[in-house]
């Protein structure tokens, strides 16, 4: 087995009594796009910030490009690129100037204009940061994460707050980065984003990984089909693995009795339902 780009084993981190990360394990292969998917407060950002070297873990083994991020220091920071969940940049500098500023921090930076082109900001290269739209600022964040020519990229909720068109553009960009052979750890609370971009996804809830696999595998664990109708003034929902048989029985009985099943529908669960089912299941304490 080749060396992992990133490996996490039984990672734990508490803030006071709150266990933000409660025993997480995963492994990312070189060149892979890995998605950490979960709702706000699930522990995604805490996990990523431990991997980026911002936080100390309470326990567990972590290696980033073969190095413990707590000890990696400058040499490790040469090899990683970071997009934080929220961070601003010097408002009065231009896009090109900020790229040059960051490029100067690295021993072997990429060509600044090439990076600006890669993130699609050519036309804004001489515009000041404060004049950029939200989506353009996020692309600038991406450009700065790339300018050091990193092997591994951390993207913490790179499209939160984007309109649908801007998200599509950002997705194209992440795919392009993947094409460059970069290893990417992406966090998101959008299921479709994880599905679109990630080779493998870990669904995280309350500091634990509740499911891990390829997007196809996650859909493969789809819950059952629901048959819904209206009867005697109330909604009836039947969940089943055998919709054909159940539906035949149901309609047979109703037809024989001369009744109409009001608002009859057969619903196949969406990805969203799969995801919600995963993150709600067993959490108990979240229901009122």
């Amino acid at each position: 087995m080749s060396a992992a780009a990133l490996e996490v084993r039984d990672l734990r981190k508490s803030y006071g009594a709150n266990e933000a990360v409660a025993g997480i394990s995963f492994r990312i292969e070189p060149g892979e796009v890995f998605g950490l998917l979960g709702p706000n407060g699930a522990g995604k950002t805490t996990t990523v910030e431990i991997l980026e070297g911002y936080r100390k873990r309470d326990s567990g083994d972590v290696t980033v490009l073969g190095v413990d991020p707590e000890l990696g220091g400058r040499a490790l920071r040469e090899r990683i690129g970071v997009v934080l969940q929220s961070s601003e940049l010097p408002a009065t500098l231009t896009v090109r100037e900020v790229h040059r500023m960051f490029a100067g921090y690295y021993a072997h930076p990429r060509d600044v204009d090439e990076v600006i082109g890669l993130v699609g900001l050519e036309e804004k290269a001489d515009a000041r940061v404060k004049t950029l739209s939200g989506g353009q600022k996020r692309r600038l964040d991406l450009g700065l994460a790339l300018v050091g020519d990193p092997e591994l990229l951390f993207l913490d909720e790179p499209t939160t707050g984007f309109d649908p068109a801007a998200r599509r553009t950002a997705w194209e960009l992440v795919r392009a980065l993947r094409g460059l052979g970069k290893t990417i750890l992406l966090t998101t609370h959008y299921l479709d984003e994880a599905q679109q971009l990630a080779d493998r996804v870990a669904v995280i809830r309350d500091g634990r990984i509740v499911k891990q696999g390829s997007p196809a595998q996650l859909i493969g664990i789809a819950p059952r089909v629901a048959i819904r109708y209206h009867e005697d003034g109330r909604d009836v929902v039947i969940e089943t693995d055998e919709p054909t048989r159940v539906l035949a029985e149901l309609t047979g009985v109703a037809a024989a009795a001369g009744r109409e099943l009001e608002s009859l529908e057969v619903v196949r669960p969406s990805l969203e339902d799969v995801y919600l089912d995963l993150i709600d299941n067993g959490s108990g304490n979240e229901s009122p």
């Binding site: 400058r74 040469e78 934080l84 929220s86 601003e88 940049l89 921090y105 021993a107």
Partner: protein, 248 residues
């Protein structure tokens, strides 16, 4: 060294591009000098008023640039997440902070030269009797107030409050220490307060060097007190300085 020069350039570009910092930090003390110079036209304690005011406002400028300006800038950058983002790059923390310090020194030295030039051209000031001594005093002053500026950065929680907090410190201090005119007729209580403040001793030191041509090294007491204040600031920063936003 290459990366220090690179970052020093970045810091300078950001300083001069930002109209608020360029006006408030760089222009404001020389502007006050112009106003006060128009009011005091005679002699102050046997010296030309313009020369006495130059020393006072250079002292104020030092505190305003290195304490107030530096702290406001760093708090704003910290709360915006800029400092946190930079910590994820290979730029060493010490290189970043020394380039901030170096940039502050450049701004203050230019400001000092501008104030003296204005005094000489407009108000007939003589200029410093001991120019090299003034350079030494400027270095000491920037070191002291930048130390306090790093300490203040560590203590201030929000970007919104930073300007109010530092001006609440710097402006009364400048008033008590004699930046805006002689303090001999101040009530005793204010003079006792002034006797504790670093700016009082920096201005005393600069007065002797600038007005009487005194030597920098002849003032171990003033140097020690000013340096001690700087170390207090550095000690606070050492314990409390953070790179991540406090209010998020």
């Amino acid at each position: 060294m290459r990366i220090f020069v690179h970052e020093l350039r970045n810091q300078q570009r950001m300083f001069w591009r930002n109209r608020e910092s360029a006006v408030f930090v760089f222009i404001f003390p020389p502007l006050l000098f112009l106003l006060l110079g128009a009011v005091y036209s005679d002699r102050i304690e046997g010296f030309r008023a313009a020369d006495v005011l130059i020393v006072g406002l250079v002292g104020y400028g030092c505190a305003n640039t290195a304490l107030a300006g530096l702290a406001i800038t760093l708090v704003i950058r910290r709360e915006a997440g800029i400092l946190k983002r930079i910590r994820a790059t290979p730029l060493p923390a010490t290189t970043y902070l020394t380039s901030v310090l170096g940039s502050t020194l450049i701004v203050f030295v230019l400001q000092m030269l501008l104030t003296i030039a204005l005094g000489v051209v407009l108000y007939g000031a003589k200029g410093p009797e001991n120019p090299l001594g003034m350079v030494a005093a400027a270095l000491l002053g920037v070191a002291c107030f930048a130390g306090l500026g790093f300490g203040a950065t560590a203590l201030i929680r929000s970007a919104e409050g930073s300007s109010a907090v530092v001006n609440l410190i710097v402006l009364p201090m400048a008033f008590l220490s004699g930046s805006f005119g002689p303090t001999r007729r101040y009530p005793d209580v204010l003079q006792w307060l002034a006797d504790v403040l670093p700016l009082t001793y920096l201005i005393d030191l600069m007065n002797d060097i600038y007005l009487r041509g005194g030597s920098f090294v002849d003032h171990p007491k003033e140097i020690a007190i000013v340096a001690a204040w700087g170390l207090v600031g550095v000690a606070i920063a050492w314990r409390r300085f953070g790179w991540e936003p406090r209010e998020r």
